[in-house]
Symmetry: C2
Subunit: 307 residues, 2 copies
């Protein structure tokens, strides 16, 4: 599968947001984490998605985080910040801001408070968002995560969006876990960049013509994900060893609340317990879960890249 120039692809971490004790973002640690990811297998950075706890920050905080990373030298062209919000007016503000900073793309949830809404309503919201963002540089990746948003993107509404805005609505992150849904989009929408949100779907969708992956587990496993990606895209071979490692990481980590578990792993790896701060309604792992997680993680025999 070939994609148009400027379309993001490859391995993207759904980047965690480190915090201070008062739960303000720690931009120094976040910048370091982003550099470490780019140095260890990430082609791009899914900043402030679900794993980045975007919806637990105000619009202002989200803009300050992205701005802080840009100022600290994180390449915005490799960044795909989440700019979706419950209110389309906030999505407009966040999207304009991300485009102004030079973001390579934006990952956009539909307005997600109201459930059972029509395709007409979802289309109307994106029409307002794209008009409001007002930039030909805007590249939107739809964010399909029905388990959290409660507002799925049907293939019909995707077709309406890519037909109406072919230069702007260029891809999707599918966190549903439904591989058939991902393969269906790869087939129905040629050139549309489909990114699974899980290691469990990554290789199969890539082989079918997917664009790569955007996953939480890539916060710790991006080096292995890149081996899988490179083997397939460069040689059409499967790196079974690397793929088995990311599947095992996914399996172990997803036994626990995913984001708290990833923050615990980074806390141990960095020796900095502050990594475990997380905004409610999420809570850190308790001691027994943390100990179990570490034991199971160590059993995989995967060494995190040095910091």
């Amino acid at each position: 599968m070939t994609f148009a120039p400027g379309i993001m692809k490859g391995v993207n971490a759904a980047v965690l947001t480190p915090m201070n004790r008062d739960l303000t973002p720690d931009l120094v640690r976040m910048t370091d984490h982003c550099h470490w990811l780019l140095d260890n297998g990430c082609d791009g950075l899914g900043i402030l998605g679900t794993s980045g706890e975007a919806q637990s920050f105000s619009t202002r905080e989200r803009m300050e985080i992205l701005e802080g990373l840009a100022k600290a030298g994180i390449p915005m062209s490799k960044s795909m910040p989440g700019t979706g919000a419950a209110a389309y007016v906030d999505t407009i503000e966040l999207t304009r801001h991300a485009v102004e900073l030079g973001a390579g793309g934006t990952l956009v949830l539909p307005p997600f408070y109201l459930k059972g809404v029509s395709d007409d309503g979802i289309f109307a919201a994106f029409d307002k968002i794209i008009e409001g963002a007002g930039s030909s540089a805007l590249r939107i990746y739809l964010y399909h995560f029905p388990q959290m948003s409660g507002v799925p993107f049907s293939h019909d509404v995707i077709e309406r969006l890519v037909t109406a805005f072919p230069e702007t609505v260029v891809g999707i992150k599918d966190s549903s876990g439904d591989v058939a849904n991902m393969l269906g989009m790869v087939e129905r929408f040629p050139g549309f960049a489909v990114f699974p949100g899980s290691e469990a779907a990554f290789l199969e969708v890539l082989q079918a013509g997917g664009a790569g992956c955007i996953t939480a587990v890539s916060n710790v496993g991006s080096a292995m994900a890149q081996r899988v990606h490179a083997a397939w895209t460069e040689n059409e071979t499967v790196d079974e060893e690397a793929n088995n490692i990311i599947l095992a990481l996914r399996d172990v980590i997803s036994r626990y609340p995913l984001w708290a578990a990833l923050k615990a792993i980074m806390a141990r790896h960095s020796g900095d317990a502050d990594w475990e701060y997380i905004r409610p309604t999420l809570v850190p792992l308790d001691d027994s879960a943390r100990a179990e997680l570490f034991a199971a993680f160590d059993d995989i025999g995967y060494a995190l890249p040095p910091l």
Copy 2:
């Protein structure tokens, strides 16, 4: 059932938010609507809840709307603005602001993007919200609407909240439609003000010791809801005629997208088609749905109070 002084009770409309063509709020029309409701059966006003499309407005817009109503003379002591948001930091800002304006109470959704969260996480969020609001004048009514929020309040977490914050967490609006859940709370938490979000539960819960109702249909039916409320609270009698009318209104209106239908009814009643503006992902009724709705509404034989 007796409630502590200052607890809201009786009939409350979940007030619609009229808009201009550009979908900015029309505060003149909204002020008139609030006065009309208070003159026609409403004891209080549930401003900027789901029916008020709160989650389709930015935090700033929500504060401007409430401030505009206060300046226009809408009694804040009779108002229960919704101050819940996806991010607890926004809930803090909105709640502080509502308390500063003298709101009689605030209706608070839990942070609603992340699903499957623990009671510990919900408790932690409310702990932060109450600490952040920082006022002994704060009266929180929990907003239980699992069909939209995806984050239900268990009775266990309610018990933890009313035990930890007995002066602050004083009631709940239950929009689940689950009458057994409402009756269970009335029984388990004496003095805790339980408000059904639907006419279908209003009388039964009132008879069991509920505090009243907060409903969308009260935007057009509050005069009849007040007859039901007064007959029971003053004489322990049932006004069957009035109750049948609000049940019929609910039945007819809920065949359509509820808020669009209510806005269509107000547009016809006021002769002002602008009443139908609604923010996406909601959309106005189409012509055939509107015609069907009006015919079914007229069949009830209920005359809206004059404007």
